[in-house]
Subunit: 159 residues, 2 copies
DNA sequence: GCCTGTTGGTTGAAGCTACAAGTAAGACCG
DNA sequence: CGGTCTTACTTGTAGCTTCAACCAACAGGC
């Protein structure tokens, strides 16, 4: 037996689905235009820029960016070809690879960040009042509790 | 000058970004497994199933599904290859193409819908209380006001 | 030291989306 | 009518993601 959605639930879902469909494109377009990066590439560089030594192991980087390992491997290879990232084997574990932000990569993130933040603010945050921002944090936390039960994304990052 | 995000804003944004990254995959996986459809393909079939005569012009269908025309053209061709949709030139306008759901396509949507709705309910709606569902409708409405100013998605569909 | 299994990562092929270009029909105008 | 513009699609190509192998390095038992 199927429990259908009530009118209120349906409205909320249809709109959320529309946001899911449209927002990534809006974010990608600005970053692609201003920094020649996809949102995911930007996020990879941003995670590296916040890490100690600007270095992370591929597995750890994949966890923080919600990526599969193959996806990350392809993306980092392309970023490496562009000179934004450097890869080298991990001294402690011969299986592991470290990815490190280069000077050029750091400069790229620094240059891209203000525009990206301004875009997020303009498209999302400024559309909401302070109360809604708090509500959004609660709602997304609840949803992530379902779709990311291990808390890979939200967990206090170790390593 | 850049206005950075406050802590509350940053938390809300990071979580929303995570939902944006993870939720589409969760929805796709279930539909792919149970009905061999992507979420977008399912949505195309669903829009057709609700239209009069189960028929829509490509342009109208593209608007309802938030797709570019090239993307829709490719997807409908694949659905046509699978016998779920039929295309024929519009009698009123020689430039236009009508897409119509076949019997097989209708059966496919009917079969897929309950599982999909159950998945949406399980992953999203049931994670929230009634108050949060209302809040989510308001929040997504506000965001769509920014990223979809023409209301293409939300407008009462004409035609 | 081997064997087995696990972990960490890379690679190649397949499929989907976006962008750019092209086609064809309608609309407007003299 | 002829010319030009717009609309409605389709098609081809490039780039990214996914999936399925694959390989190398570690770890534990014997």
């Amino acid at each position: 037996m199927t429990t259908w959605l009530t009118d209120e639930e349906r409205v909320a879902w249809v709109r959320l689905a529309a946001v899911l469909e449209l927002l990534p494109g809006v974010l990608d377009t600005q970053l692609r235009r201003d920094a020649d990066l996809s949102h995911f590439e930007y996020f990879v560089l941003a995670m590296l820029s916040e890490a100690p030594e600007r270095t992370l192991r591929m597995t750890s980087l994949a966890a923080r960016t919600n990526a599969t390992l193959p996806r990350l491997s392809h993306v980092v290879r392309r970023l490496e070809d562009r000179g934004l990232v450097r890869r080298f084997p991990c001294p402690q574990d011969g299986r592991a690879t470290n990815a490190q932000l280069t000077e050029s990569g750091w400069a790229t993130v620094e240059a891209a960040a203000p525009g990206h933040v301004a875009n997020v603010r303009h498209q999302v945050i400024d559309a909401l009042d302070a109360e809604q921002v708090r509500q959004l944090a609660g709602i997304t936390e609840a949803i992530l509790g379902r779709i990311d039960p291990d808390g890979v994304v939200m967990a206090p990052q170790r390593n």
